[in-house]
Amino acid sequence: MKTATANKKVRSRRSLSRNDRFTLAAFIGIPTLMQIIFLWLPALITIALSFTYWNGINVSDIKWAGLANYKNIFFGTPVFYEALKNNLIWLLWFTFIATPLGILLAYQIDRKIKGHKIFETVFYIPVVLSLAIIGIIWNFMLQPGGFVQGIMGRDIGNAVSIWGNYSINTYVIMGVASWRHIGYIMLLYLAGLKSVDPSLREAAAIDGATEWQTFRKIVLPAMRPVNIIIVVITIIESLRAFDLVYIIYGTSTAWPLLNILVFQNFAGQGISMKGAAYAVILLVLCIGPILLYLRNVFKEDLK
């Protein structure tokens, strides 16, 4: 009896022991503090700097610029729109091609189709590599003097133009990025599918539902938490894309992305706060759709 009441007390929030309170405070306080120092503070400083002219060296040189950096970007920098276009292509490609493919693959593997173990391994391998490594691998394969060119018997003088051929390079980059993304989504979805109660599907099958109906009406709603994660990951992965392209093109903006522009202007040889303005634009683009999506999801939940 005594222990039972004690347990009840512990469970109620008000009567946490001093030790528990300390632990909780540490668990919440330290990460929050770190978030503030290493994330929110720099983010706020970046936002403030985006309204200034500065070469990144002496604080005393900071000059107020108003909206000049943004005006410059929106009205004077054509490469910004090229970057925006590339980021958008990346987002659309991931949303409508790579992510659905990953989901499809996970669904098929979960159904234990023939050779599912092999598929699982094959698509999983790229996931353990960082995009930077993937960039190095594919750059090595496709660049003039590279492996694939060698197999085709092309030397550096007559190598097939891939990274510099603007009618195909976008798709090649999308293919390379998907190579990893498909496996990543597959893995996440597979983990989610394992947690779907098999009796739900059996019941659907008994009721005569088709495979597609089962997936849409039963599996997809049951997978709701995973779906949210996948949508968020797809958006963030496409907008923050950087490493793969940086490895291939450097800061030269031969195939620009917003993040490359941030890097080129913020950390490059000619530091200017245009880079900060690019970073703010990117931040808004990243946070905007996600907030909108999450708000919708939680609204539905409340209903």
Partner: protein, 435 residues
């Protein structure tokens, strides 16, 4: 916008003095360079730009070893990827930088010196005495305060490089080309034989600036070129359109993968005998020598031909390289001492003994020992009256890389968009904050 008076006057014949002085038999300069009045001690940290496996790194280490042998001060060298070092230069210099490092004269030195990131090495330059021609010192001087923040050591011309054996096989003689039409004919003839006529890579975004620079200087003259890069002339000027029109005439003779390859791809095209002429700075010759003496002996350079008789071949890009010292280093005096040593005869001798093919500015260096290629480089330099430092050292850093680089790439992609590209380039210059 750029307000400072660019070192315009000075740049005229900046290095010519050095070249001419160098051609004479080792000038007497007897000052003991690098020897200050008080003895400097302590370890010195040195950054090598490049990979440790590069020919250049081995040369730098050999020269540093010679310093250790002379002074007893240890030099701790680390190799840093050159692009990374340049991109993160400001951050590195604000942190805990190495004391000394190889660097480049021009905007990159002067702007960072103005911000207090580099140490004044005027004393070391004074100690080198007459070894450096007044013109060379002028080239290394920051126009804002008249002090030097880099000890100039080597320089190299940008010109048309080719392999003698290839041209001989094709029955062509690049040394005879005198005009633009000659160059086009040469490219055409090379291409007909199945080679690349005019090798170019621009994946890095800066390689094609060399071609832009030289055509602009040939067509419109050195002064227009420098004025353009400092905002005194407009990118929308018909003269600039003309430069790109000329560049466009070379496109049919270029390799079809210009935007796929970087400078090392260009080098490989030449190394593997896949191309005729290649417009590049001669610094890459070290890689030829590292490959084999035979390849190195086969390499040759001629000046870019005349386009406009008014300007002849009176200008050239000849970037000035040297050693700078970080203001925030742990051992600033040590860094200065090492920098002074590397600019002195002893330092140069050690580097050359380790296989350096660069030509040195110091007149104390015995040029009679130069090989044929180096003598040819001096001749190419000597033919020019005006010296440019290369586009990304002659204009501001927030303009060269982020604006001009993509503009030239866009042009190579779609030459028809030229007018729009130039309009945008001018617009972006106009939007730059005052310095």
């Amino acid at each position: 916008m750029m307000s400072e008076e660019n070192n315009g006057i000075s740049r005229r014949s900046v290095l010519k003095g050095a070249a001419v002085g160098g051609l004479g038999i080792a000038a007497g300069g007897s000052l003991l360079a690098g020897c200050g009045t008080k003895k400097v001690t302590g370890d010195v940290h040195f950054t090598i730009r490049g990979n440790l496996s590069d020919a250049g790194a081995k040369i730098a280490i050999a020269a540093n070893d010679a310093y250790t042998k002379k002074t007893g001060n240890k030099v701790i060298s680390q190799a840093v990827n050159s692009d990374d070092f340049q991109n993160n230069f400001v951050q590195i210099m604000q942190g805990t930088p190495d004391d000394a490092f190889g660097w480049m004269a021009g905007w990159r030195t002067n702007a960072r010196a103005d911000a207090g990131l580099l140490a004044d090495v005027s004393d070391q330059i004074k100690a080198l005495g007459s070894a450096l021609s007044p013109a060379a010192i002028q080239g290394a001087t920051n126009p804002k305060d008249g002090k030097q923040y880099i000890i100039p050591t080597t320089y190299y011309p940008w010109g048309l490089h080719y392999r003698k054996s290839t041209m001989k096989e094709l029955g062509l003689d690049p040394e005879s080309i005198a005009t633009w039409d000659d160059l086009i004919k040469l490219c055409e003839a090379t291409q007909k034989k199945g080679l690349v006529g005019y090798a170019l890579g621009d994946k890095g975004g800066w390689e094609a600036m060399g071609t832009f620079d030289i055509i602009n200087m040939r067509l419109n003259g050195y002064q227009f070129h420098i004025d353009l890069l400092n905002g005194k002339e407009k990118w929308t000027d018909a003269k600039v359109v003309d430069v790109f029109t000329h560049m466009g005439q070379l496109i049919p003779y270029m390799n079809k993968n210009v935007l796929d390859i970087s400078w090392d791809g260009m080098r490989d095209l030449l190394l593997q005998k896949k191309c005729g002429a290649m417009m590049m700075g001669s610094w890459f010759a070290n890689d030829f020598k590292a490959k084999s003496q035979e390849d190195y002996d086969d390499l040759w350079i001629v000046p870019f031909p005349e386009i406009n008789p008014e300007h002849g071949v009176d200008s050239i890009d000849a970037p000035l390289d040297g050693i700078s010292v970080a203001a925030n280093g742990k051992n600033v005096e040590g860094g200065k001492d090492l920098a002074g040593f590397l600019g002195s005869k002893e330092g140069i001798d050690a580097a050359v003994a380790a296989g350096d093919t660069n030509i040195y500015i110091s007149s104390e260096f015995d040029t009679t020992s130069y090989d044929a290629f180096n003598k040819q480089k001096l001749a190419v330099l000597g033919a020019a009256k005006n010296i440019g430092f290369f586009l990304d050292r002659d204009t501001r850093g927030d303009f060269a890389g982020p604006v001009v680089g993509p503009a030239i790439q866009s042009f190579l992609k779609n030459p028809k968009d030229l007018n729009k590209i130039l309009e945008n380039t001018q617009k972006q210059w106009d939007a730059l904050p005052a310095l």
